[in-house]
């Protein structure tokens, strides 16, 4: 019984915390089609949190994977997925599709400029 109560408490905590933060970040749209990320390069400003919205238009699932960004997420076919990255320091951060690593590749370029999305 104690275990079930603890579990319910954890679930309640998630419900409590997940909504307000979502509105704080800029968004970047990425399309996955024919096992290719489009655009394959995205630019974001340094020191800012960014919301990547990935639309998998393929008939197969894919996994967004990045060792540099420490991110990993399954992208279901014909569905959208969201991943938050940053705040990041200036540099290039590679990502790839784990299921099709030879074709699905891309990178996040973090620049100082303020006009990046």
């Amino acid at each position: 019984m104690l275990v079930i109560r603890s579990y319910m408490f954890v679930i309640s905590l998630f419900y409590l915390f997940f909504t307000p933060r979502a509105l704080a970040a800029d968004s970047v749209n990425i399309i996955l089609k024919d096992h290719l990320f489009m655009p394959a390069e995205i630019e974001i400003p340094a020191g800012k949190k960014v919301r990547l919205i990935i639309d998998n238009q393929d008939d197969t699932a894919e996994e967004f994977d990045s060792f540099d960004l420490n991110r990993e997420k399954v992208l279901f076919p014909h569905r959208k997925s969201v991943i938050y990255i940053g705040p990041l320091s200036i540099g290039e951060y590679r990502f790839f599709g784990e299921f099709s690593p030879n074709t699905a590749q891309g990178k996040v370029i973090v620049r100082e400029s303020t006009d990046a999305p």
């Binding site: 998630f14 997940f18 919301r51 197969t60 699932a61 996994e63 420490n70 997420k73 399954v74 969201v82």
Partner: protein
Amino acid sequence: MLLNTVIISLNQFLPLALLWVLLLQCDIGGSQSKISVWLTVLYCTVACTLFLAAAGAISQWFDYRGLEISKILMLVGIYICVLGAIASAYGSRYKVAAIALASMLYLSHFVMYLSSYWGQDATQGLLIGSVLGLGICLSFCTLLYFTLTWFRANHAVSLVLALLAFHSASKIANAVDLAAQIDLLPSSETVFDVRGWLDEHGIVGRILKSLVGYEATPSLANLIAFLTSLFLVAVVMFWHVEKNTQGVLKELKHD
């Protein structure tokens, strides 16, 4: 496709198989109760099938963050089940629940990959890759199982318990990473970077990551979560060892 399938199958089978081996080998409190292999396989199959059927829809919940939230709950669930297996009198139930949750988490991912690419001129690569990955995983886990048996036979149960403690704590650290991925928790800075020494994406690094939650570049939140949950599981283990020892001493006094 072949090499990719080997890597993906290893990544998904290894954490599940390691948890199973560690739970089979830990001998403390309620965890002394044995689990039925066939019943566990049945529960795993049902849990995995149900999750696969709903995963696509779940991923769209909570502003496209449903998948991470469900995974976080599974990871926390595994950790709680390990605590339950140690502390509760119904250890076997918690063990089965932990393995079923792990199969939902890891096995479903692999089945998703297989079902996506099956029949696209890649069936042979998928099949051979899966068999190779599963074979490597089973070989490693068999070796670990007998190594742990040897440790137990030579009065080194604490080493087995330490491995289980590290393994279960790594689930909470993973959950924290997932929470940062969907902005439930703020992303924190990397505390240290030992990729030059041992990369977690190399062979040894992957095994250590699956076994004891090795992270070459842990964030502060990840490290705090790992150490806190490690401390908690260690306290529960010590408490039960102490309780068992007192029980044995009492029985000896009665005799």
